[in-house]
């Protein structure tokens, strides 16, 4: 099988794509945003609870999408749960770089991270939007 495809669809991606973790709505929540990919109609709804120490206590999503977007959302929620908001923002930046194909100046992510599985998206530039949809929703929710 082709390397590009194997890099894109690593086992963990296929797994999270088939069975997304943290799928649902977070109750209670105080932050939410919709993510949308106008190219293909994929969409998701992200909800999370930010406590008074600025820690993400719980985070979930629902929606429809391709394996990449579902897996990315699923891995994101796993990664962000329990994180301080400042750290989460650093991870967001690193992740954006990673999927654009540049993993040189990463600050907080490293190869051990499950998020690293999405690096293969760099080989499919039109899929970057799939991988970042959940993250943009997260970023949007922080702004609102």
């Amino acid at each position: 099988m082709n390397d590009l495809i194997n890099d894109l669809y690593q086992e963990i991606i296929l797994d999270h794509g088939r069975e997304p973790r943290n799928f649902g709505e977070c109750e209670p929540h105080n932050k939410s945003a919709d993510g949308h990919n106008p190219l293909c109609g994929d969409n998701l709804k992200l909800t999370f609870l930010l406590n008074d120490q600025n820690i993400i206590e719980d985070i979930k999503f629902t929606g429809e999408g391709c394996a990449i977007s579902l897996a990315s959302a699923s891995l994101m929620t796993e990664k962000l749960k329990g994180k301080k908001i400042e750290v989460a923002e650093e991870i967001f930046k690193d992740f954006t770089n990673l999927v654009s194909g540049s993993d040189e100046d990463l600050k907080v992510l490293n190869e051990e991270d499950s998020l690293y599985a999405l690096k293969g998206v760099g080989g499919f530039p039109m899929r970057v939007k799939c991988a970042t949809m959940a993250w943009h929703a997260f970023n949007q929710a922080l702004k609102d």
């Binding site: 099988m1 082709n2 590009l4 495809i5 894109l8 669809y9 296929l14 190219l39 293909c40 109609g41 994929d42 969409n43 429809e64 999408g65 391709c66 394996a67 990449i68 499919f124 899929r127 799939c130």
Partner: protein
């Protein structure tokens, strides 16, 4: 691999991009012609030649290059006129795209013939480009939009369509060939409009290179298409309209080239077709479209259609045999387009997987979100064929589909 029959047409060599290697090793199999067609050598070479030997602005200067450019531009108009069998060159307006053509008609037809509460009939299978321009009329002026239902086959439900007319119905706008199902508009829809004396616009984006178009026989009032889907360059489209309607409707955009006489107090407008062509037009692109029409004529539109029909039927039958494939629409005739899903695999996965095999298909909502919602999917995979495709490519595609299924179910 049972391509028992080989087809007569083999024009692959006319299209330079088809010798490209995808990811440096795979032959390109281009099944995305409905999104945009590839260009034959002649179109590319003539674009080149225009810039290298004849280029300047049109209709403005009196020098030699201006003559050469203007004559190429107007010659393209004649070619389009013949291609559509319009009565006169005055009925051929060059636009930048089909989308612009529909926007032009929606706005200027409203300006002349409609008011608040008047009605427009569309359908559920329309492309966003044949929806949003009418949505604008609804939002801005209180025009009422009605949508014909579709049957499970993907065709418009003619009885329902017929029932939508009232004495406030001012215009109908329908796709001539669905970019999702590949099915042709039922002629009855047009004859109903004629009976009721309501003008009809046909969105011919998908039909212009895949059906034989005769606007007089079709008896449509407007017809739009894009050059880039008919083997022509990007950046050029065509609006056909009857001289009657185009003369009555006001101009759309204002600027150089569309005026008669201008003073600070007001302006008179140029005759058709210049009236609707404000500013420097996409002149080289218009010429390129003319060359694309020459190309299709040389191959013969009948031959092209037969060729595509063979491939479409072949592919349809192949896909129909595969149990994990769901084809959208019924068993009625498809023209160069088939939409499908692999059960439980998102169309993006299918397209990315095929991509590394060198196969370009389209995945997404195909700018038909209302139809997707109706079908209960958020995206489909779409195969679409052009004159350069072959049965062998379909065979390779089917093998790749099986590999794809296997990969994602591993």
């Amino acid at each position: 691999m049972d391509h028992s029959k080989t087809l007569n047409l083999n024009v692959r060599k006319d299209f330079p991009i088809l010798s490209k290697k995808i990811l440096e090793k795979k032959d390109l199999i281009y099944f995305d012609t409905a999104a945009s067609a590839q260009k034959p050598n002649t179109v590319i070479d003539e674009t080149n030649d225009f810039y290298k030997n004849h280029y300047s602005n049109v209709s403005r200067g009196v020098h030699t290059l201006s003559v050469e450019s203007t004559f190429r531009y107007e010659d393209a108009r004649k070619k389009v006129q013949k291609f559509l069998n319009a009565r006169s060159e005055n009925e051929i307006i060059f636009t930048k795209s089909a989308t612009e053509g529909i926007n032009l008609v929606a706005q200027t037809f409203y300006d002349k013939f409609m008011q608040k509460g008047d009605e427009v009939i569309l359908s559920l299978i329309e492309h966003h480009s044949n929806l949003i321009p009418w949505f604008f009329l609804r939002d801005k002026y209180g025009v009422v939009l009605k949508f014909a239902n579709i049957q499970p086959s993907g065709e418009i439900d003619i009885d329902h369509f017929n029932s939508l007319f009232t004495n406030k119905t001012k215009i109908v706008s329908l796709t001539h060939l669905s970019n999702v199902f590949g099915t042709e508009l039922n002629e009855k829809a047009i004859s109903i409009c004629k009976d009721k004396n309501v003008p009809i616009l046909l969105d011919g984006c998908q039909s212009a290179a895949h059906l034989k178009i005769d606007v007089q026989k079709l008896s449509c009032d407007f017809f739009v298409f894009s050059g880039h889907k008919t083997y022509g360059p990007a950046g050029i489209g065509v609006l056909y309209g009857t001289e009657n309607l185009l003369s009555e409707m006001p101009p759309y955009q204002g600027g150089g080239g569309m005026i008669g006489d201008v003073s600070l107090e007001g302006a008179s407008y140029a005759e058709l077709p210049a009236k609707y062509e404000a500013g420097t037009p996409p002149l080289v692109e218009a010429h390129g479209l003319g060359i694309a029409i020459d190309y299709m004529n040389k191959i013969g539109l009948d031959n092209i259609i037969e060729h595509e029909n063979e491939i479409t039927k072949y592919a349809f039958n192949k896909l129909n045999e595969i149990d994990f494939i769901e084809i959208h629409g019924g068993d009625n005739k498809r023209n160069s387009i088939i939409s499908f899903n692999i059960k439980n695999i998102h169309s993006h996965e299918v397209s990315s997987f095929l991509d590394v095999e060198g196969i370009a298909i389209r995945a997404g909502h195909h700018c038909c979100q209302p139809l997707m919602k109706h079908l209960g999917v958020n995206s489909t995979a779409r195969l679409s064929f052009g004159v350069y495709n072959s049965l062998e490519e379909v065979d390779k595609f089917v093998i790749a589909l099986h590999k794809c299924k296997e990969f994602f179910n591993k």
